[in-house]
């Protein structure tokens, strides 16, 4: 089944938990604060999501670190009515152990906090919450931990180190929208930490609804919202045309809230400490912190939590500045930026959008100067083309063409004069023509590669290549889908 399309990736860290390494520079993680005694309103410092020291946290340790799960209704277990606005039910005589947060709607708090989705699209969370909360009838909530970006590991790290924070967020959001059915959609099925957290919460009778765990197929598009709904319905994880959006008509026709697991973890913290606390980090337009996966030019990749708006130079190390030629920002649907300039930017969409880039799934990959950027870009483009669902003509016909043409340019020789123009034309033709944004994202990736690696392109035309290290840099999974079962 494995074809020549995806070369075996040079995984520099074969252990399943390899992506995660403590941030040695310590810049994004001020460990000192989290080691203080638990407090009702912790200082707004980092790390917020991940525990310190960085090892999987039990339910008891989690509740000690962050305080109890701030359910807003009167009782966790007896309130089984279908009210969407549970704040009405707050019994004002029984507020002894609750803060003043409980008489406000969580959705209003999320709106005030300005939380945006951390899965890639950065959509305002309160808007999706409100759409599903205002819908009538049965509602569903899904925590999306598919993390199908092969080079992103932040969700896996979060689910391993702070599974209870994600589950807090899932249950709090379920309460806020009135969902009675909750799903957890995970890349490689449930990890031991999640299973332990689910067992501990069940034993403690902490939550009022059950969580169904579903394994996502190892496909790039598996985490796409409509593909996720198709998979949870028992079908293949294939994207569909929207509208209707899944927030209006999702799983079995029920309004469905799909949020990335990191988004739900942030939501659980906002529910505890409020919007002001959340806004102490980040920029005015993009508040809070985020998890990022960073591939260094000469060090192990790591997952760090950083305030939005942090200068990229502080997240990258000095080797990156000296040895990297380009920075891939966002993910495989992201944008290549030339390196000395990229380090001057900040980690926020406002700054990145001026250069055609976006935070996306939070990937920063500094490509070392001793690799060929065109070879790396062509390899990733072949992977993206192979991961097309094969449903929409522009994607099915356009992406393999672009991948083959870029592979041709990655070889040091004088290419057909038309090849580069062809790629740019096809990139324009596929954009906006799919049920999902896969063709758009791939086109963005390819176009930015042609711009950033233009000097290398000129070198290839003279029959030369500047690369001295032929090893692939970013990881890719093996194999490509050839049967319908590959999507389930």
């Amino acid at each position: 089944m494995t074809t020549a399309v995806n070369e075996p990736s040079a995984t520099r860290h074969p252990h399943p938990t390899w992506p995660y390494a403590p941030n040695e520079a310590g810049h994004a993680q001020q460990a000192g604060h989290a080691q203080q005694a638990p407090q009702a309103r912790p200082a707004p410092t980092l790390p917020r999501l991940l525990p310190t020291p960085q090892k999987p946290e039990s339910l008891r340790a989690h509740l000690t670190r962050l305080g109890p799960v701030p359910y807003r209704s009167r009782s966790n277990r007896t309130d089984r009515t279908d009210r969407t606005d549970r704040t009405d039910r707050t019994d004002r005589t029984d507020r002894t152990d609750r803060t003043d947060r409980t008489d406000r709607s969580l959705i209003a708090d999320i709106e005030a906090a300005g939380l945006t989705g951390r899965g890639g699209a950065a959509f305002p969370v309160h808007r999706k919450l409100a759409v599903v909360a205002n819908a009538r009838g049965r509602k569903v909530i899904v925590a999306n931990g598919a993390e199908s970006e092969p080079a992103s590991h932040k969700d896996a790290v979060l689910l391993r180190l702070a599974p209870n924070l994600v589950l807090d967020g899932l249950h709090l959001a379920a309460e806020a929208i009135g969902a009675r059915e909750a799903h957890l959609y995970l890349h490689s099925g449930p990890n031991p930490e999640i299973l332990r957290a689910l067992a501990e919460r069940s034993a403690a009778n902490l939550d009022r609804i059950d969580v169904t765990v579903t394994k996502a197929p190892p496909r790039f598009l598996a985490g796409q919202e409509t593909a996720l709904v198709n998979r949870l319905s028992g079908g293949p994880a294939l994207p569909m045309f929207a509208p209707p959006r899944v927030s209006e008509r999702g799983l079995a026709g029920a309004p469905t809230l799909v949020q990335n697991v990191e988004t739900l973890a942030h939501l659980a913290l906002i529910a505890r400490y409020g919007p002001q606390w959340f806004r102490a980090l980040g920029t005015g337009a993009e508040p809070g912190s985020m998890l990022a996966t960073i591939y260094h030019a000469a060090a192990r990749p790591e997952v760090v939590e950083a305030g939005i708006g942090t200068p990229l130079s502080t997240l990258l190390n000095k080797d990156d500045a000296a040895q990297a030629q380009a920075l891939l920002v966002g993910g495989f649907h992201g944008t290549w930026l030339p390196m000395p300039h990229a380090a001057e930017l900040t980690l926020d969409n406002k700054a990145l959008s001026r250069h055609g880039a976006a935070l996306g799934a939070g990937l920063l990959a500094a490509l070392p100067a001793d690799r060929c950027g065109l070879v790396e870009a062509a390899r990733i483009t072949r992977y993206l083309a192979a991961e097309s669902a094969g449903q929409c003509g522009p994607c099915l016909n356009g992406l393999p063409r672009m991948a083959a043409a870029l592979t041709d340019l990655a070889r040091p020789h004088r290419p057909d004069r038309q090849t580069r123009a062809d790629i740019e034309r096809w990139a324009g033709l596929v954009t906006g023509r799919g049920a999902c944004s896969h063709p758009d994202g791939t086109a963005r990736f390819v176009k930015s590669a042609l711009i950033v690696f233009a000097p290398e392109l000129a070198r290839h035309e003279r029959g030369r290549c500047s690369a001295t290290d032929p090893r692939p840099f970013l990881p890719l999974p093996h194999g490509m889908p050839t049967t319908e079962e590959d999507w389930t």
Binding site: V5, A386, G390, A403, A404, D408, D416
Partner: protein
């Protein structure tokens, strides 16, 4: 032709035009299912053409039915246009026409509501076209003396042959078609090999 025969002629004429239009709609529908193209038209235009000609055909069917009902030479109750075998005149052949019309109405209603229905339901109803067209043809030949001889019979037979040819072409495509999941892999191989054996490129080297 006077006032009493005008309806009769109109009904005959619109019936024949409707049959021709429905044949075109049927063939265009098969073209859409195979994602085929017409010369000089983008693919979406084939879909639009299928949609618009079908509405035009329905307009002709409506005039055909109304004029037949209004014609006083034979008595055809309006209800028999949609209720099969409710007409005293040519009970069987007009009944087929009513069945065909009912199936068409089901397809139109589900297509207009397509955004609100799931695709499987819409598709299942739309498959009724394979029943509706032959029934309409049988109605045409059976209820009209005109179509039973001469050049109008040739026309009806021609329509049937065109539809038959289009069906064979459609089935041949279905047999050859790769399963969805294998299409991307086939595309990747195709383009990878055409790139490496590009004659223009070899000449440049």
């Amino acid at each position: 032709m006077n006032g009493t025969t005008a309806f009769w002629y109109a009904s005959r004429a619109t019936g024949i035009v409707a049959l021709l239009l429905l044949t075109v709609v049927f063939v265009l529908g098969l073209l859409v299912t195979r994602q085929g193209r017409l010369p000089g038209l983008p693919r979406f235009a084939v879909t639009s053409l299928h949609r618009n000609i079908s509405l035009l055909a329905v307009a002709f069917v409506a005039v055909h039915v109304l004029t037949a009902v209004l014609d006083t030479y034979v008595s055809i109750p309006l209800a028999s246009a949609v209720i099969p075998f409710a007409s005293g005149y040519e009970r069987f052949w007009l009944g087929l026409g009513a069945i065909s019309l009912d199936l068409m109405l089901a397809m139109i209603v589900t297509s207009l509501l397509r955004g609100r229905l799931n695709r499987i339901l819409w598709r299942a109803v739309h498959l009724l076209a394979y029943l509706s067209w032959p029934v309409a043809l049988a109605h045409s030949i059976g209820s009209s003396r005109d179509l039973q001889h001469g050049w109008l019979l040739d026309l009806a037979v021609g329509c049937a042959l065109v539809v038959l040819a289009a069906m064979i072409w459609r089935l041949a495509g279905a047999v050859r078609q790769l399963p969805r999941a294998a299409r991307v892999a086939a595309m990747m191989t195709k383009h990878a090999t055409t790139r490496s054996h590009n004659p223009r490129e070899s000449a440049a080297r």
